[in-house]
């Protein structure tokens, strides 16, 4: 492992790769800080730009956007109380309260230190756990893959406040993926005779529309303006008491984030929420939470960065994305001709170890950037959103066009932008739709291959040990949230 990791560092330290890691984390920091973009949309926007790059360089850069986005989201959360995405909500609660109390610098500093420590810890976990999980993954066949994909789609629904709506979003994503041709027989299916639909609905217009365009529409809809808070370099230092209060919060947040990140579909927002709630239980002063608790902020930030890295473990070892961002990363691997899954560790080991090494370097770059340069990043927020929004929209559309060289993709982006905006208004989570769209081809192919292997008998899902365990997990993940939803009435009584 150490030899492979050192080879990974050699690869990551190549000048071109180093430059693109820096570019990736810088872009991630910026898109994470821009309300309405976020890392998943930022990665989707820049995906077309990677087509001329070596696959390893492209993946390092896109991964940089993924974890850089977690750092960037902290800036808007703390300084203007606008979380760049859901994982920044807990950060905004206490971070912004600290900023209002004149401690914006300390809030940004502990967020940067917490994110770095948890990020590097999570990278080490990726290095240790990915090969182990991949060796288990080699025992997987079609039935296990089908159930894993089903678990990925259903697990998103098992979390959050509106599980049935989340599950419906997942089914919608799977349904959208039906359009085009049948993956096994090549028979045209649900394309209504439109030539632009024969190749199916690409992931890029869906991600750009549902995340990027929908967020911009939602932001433009609100008329209120937010006043940024200025922060200075001398305001960045933490006191000895801050360190004492936060050291175990960072550790706990890192572990919770890693654990949640590994679970397909859970993601950084669940990690930060769970970590924040855990920290409040451990705290000697739970009354401070929500009013500027630095330990709550440290835990939430450590957890969301750790989860962003942890989500790579199932993606690299099993080919199952753990979050929307890792789904984009997986799409990038596929677009560059690399098949994710258990064989990735053996067939593309240089890429995997190079990526792991690049994440250590990227996190270090982010720490260096964030401590002294936070005021500079904060200055970006002084650009009124009025001027940012049109720029985000047009760059999104050009990015989508560049991916397919077809104006039909622009139309798709607009259509999915409207769909995403309506989903936001109707309280339907959007991440399950995108995750399901990515997983759908593997899910359908595996299901049909399984039934082909068993000559049509569904017992194949019960007879194989790993498959049986997965089936029980899938059933539990499906029933638990629905049961919980109906249970609300009993509790209310």
């Amino acid at each position: 492992m150490f030899e492979a990791l050192s080879q990974g560092f050699v690869l990551a330290f190549e000048p071109q790769n180093l430059l693109f890691i820096f570019f990736g984390v810088l872009v991630g920091q910026i898109v994470g800080a821009l309300p309405g973009v976020g890392p998943a949309a930022g990665m989707a926007l820049l995906l077309p730009l990677t087509f001329g790059l070596e696959p390893v360089t492209a993946i390092m850069m896109l991964a940089g956007i993924m974890y850089g986005g977690q750092y960037g989201g902290t800036l808007t959360s703390v300084l203007i109380n606008v979380p760049g995405e859901a994982s920044g909500v807990m950060t905004a609660m206490d971070g912004h309260a600290m900023a209002r109390n004149g401690r914006a610098g300390a809030a940004l500093a502990i967020a940067a230190v917490g994110s770095f420590s948890a990020g590097v810890g999570a990278v080490l976990a990726v290095a240790v756990l990915t090969p182990a999980l991949a060796s288990v993954g080699l025992r997987f066949n079609a039935p296990e893959y089908f159930l894993l994909c089903a678990l990925g789609v259903i697990a998103v629904g098992s979390l959050g406040e509106v599980p049935i709506r989340s599950l419906l979003a997942g089914v919608l994503g799977l349904t959208i993926a039906l359009i085009g041709v049948d993956p096994l027989t090549g028979t045209p299916r649900l394309n209504f005779g439109l030539p632009s639909l024969y190749q199916g609905i690409d992931f890029i217009p869906v991600a750009i529309g549902v995340f990027g365009i929908a967020e911009v529409l939602s932001s433009l809809e609100r008329s209120e303006k937010v006043e940024p808070i200025r922060t200075r370099l001398k305001d960045m230092w933490l006191t000895a008491e801050d360190w004492t209060t936060c050291r175990f919060s960072i550790l706990r947040g890192g572990f919770i984030g890693l654990f949640v990140g590994i679970m397909p579909g859970a993601g950084a927002s669940v990690a930060s929420l769970l970590s924040y709630l855990t920290e409040r239980k451990f705290s000697k002063h739970p009354e401070r939470f929500g009013n500027g608790a630095i330990d709550g902020l440290a835990a939430a930030e450590s957890a969301n960065n750790s989860a962003a890295h942890g989500a790579l473990i199932p993606m690299l070892s099993l080919g199952i994305p753990g979050s929307a961002s890792s789904a984009v990363l997986m799409a990038a691997l596929i677009l560059h001709g690399i098949k994710p899954g258990p064989m990735l560790m053996t067939q593309e080991s240089a890429l995997v170890w190079g990526l792991i090494a690049s994440m250590v370097i990227g996190n270090l770059i982010l720490l260096i950037m964030n401590l002294p340069m936070a005021p500079l990043f904060a200055a970006l927020l002084r650009i009124p959103y009025t001027y940012l929004a049109p720029g985000i929209l047009v760059i999104s559309l050009v990015g989508a066009y560049a991916a397919t060289l077809s104006v039909a993709t622009v139309w798709m982006c607009i259509a999915f932008g409207i769909l995403g905006w309506l989903m936001m208004k109707l309280d339907i989570p959007r991440a399950p739709l995108v995750l399901a769209l990515v997983l759908a081809p593997l899910m359908e192919t595996s299901l049909r291959q399984s039934l082909l292997l068993s000559l049509g008998s569904p017992m194949i899902f019960v007879e194989r040990p790993i498959s049986a365990v997965l089936l029980v997990t899938v059933i539990f993940a499906l029933i638990a949230p629905i049961w919980r939803t109906f249970g609300r009435r009993r509790l209310a009584r």
Binding site: E161, T187, L190, V216, G391, E444, R448, G456
Partner: protein
């Protein structure tokens, strides 16, 4: 109205499921021992109908827990104006070319919809469209649609 909006996702999914069932009616469910091209769509349609039914039931029981985020009165107008601009943009790209169409769209959005001052709006438009031309067209060599007369 609120009850209809809360139920809208379930009703939409039921319609979509029926559309999938009808749209795949010419395909085989089973092909010998193998599930056919209609197999997965049929299961999905079934899942959509069951989940939609459950959602409607939770609404009847008052356990849905969803919170609608309805737009402000002026907000809907702004969103519709942006969407109209986006549709016009997609229509004029093949005629005017990508970069000029994007410039027109940005100016429309900044000056008409968002009522931004003229000079900063022109400056932003020039900056963004120049960046698009440089990055996508010159650096990456993406053949962006040109105006019809070129």
């Amino acid at each position: 109205m609120m009850r209809f909006l809360l139920a809208a996702p379930a009703l939409f999914m039921i319609c979509l499921a029926l559309g999938v069932v009808l749209g795949t009616s010419g395909l085989k469910l089973w092909d010998g021992f193998t599930p056919g091209p209609r197999f997965f769509p049929a299961w999905l349609a079934g899942a959509a109908i069951v989940l939609s039914g459950l959602l409607l039931l939770t609404q009847r029981l008052g356990t849905d827990g969803a919170r609608l985020d309805l737009p402000e009165p002026g907000g809907t107008g702004r969103v519709l104006a942006v969407l109209a601009g986006l549709i016009a943009l997609a229509l004029i790209v093949p005629l005017a070319g990508m970069v000029p169409a994007l410039a027109l769209f940005m100016l429309y959005l900044l000056l008409w919809v968002l009522r931004a001052p003229v000079l900063p709006s022109i400056g932003t438009t020039v900056l963004v469209t120049a960046a698009i031309e440089l990055i996508f067209s010159r650096w990456l060599g993406v053949p962006l649609p040109a105006p019809f007369f070129l």
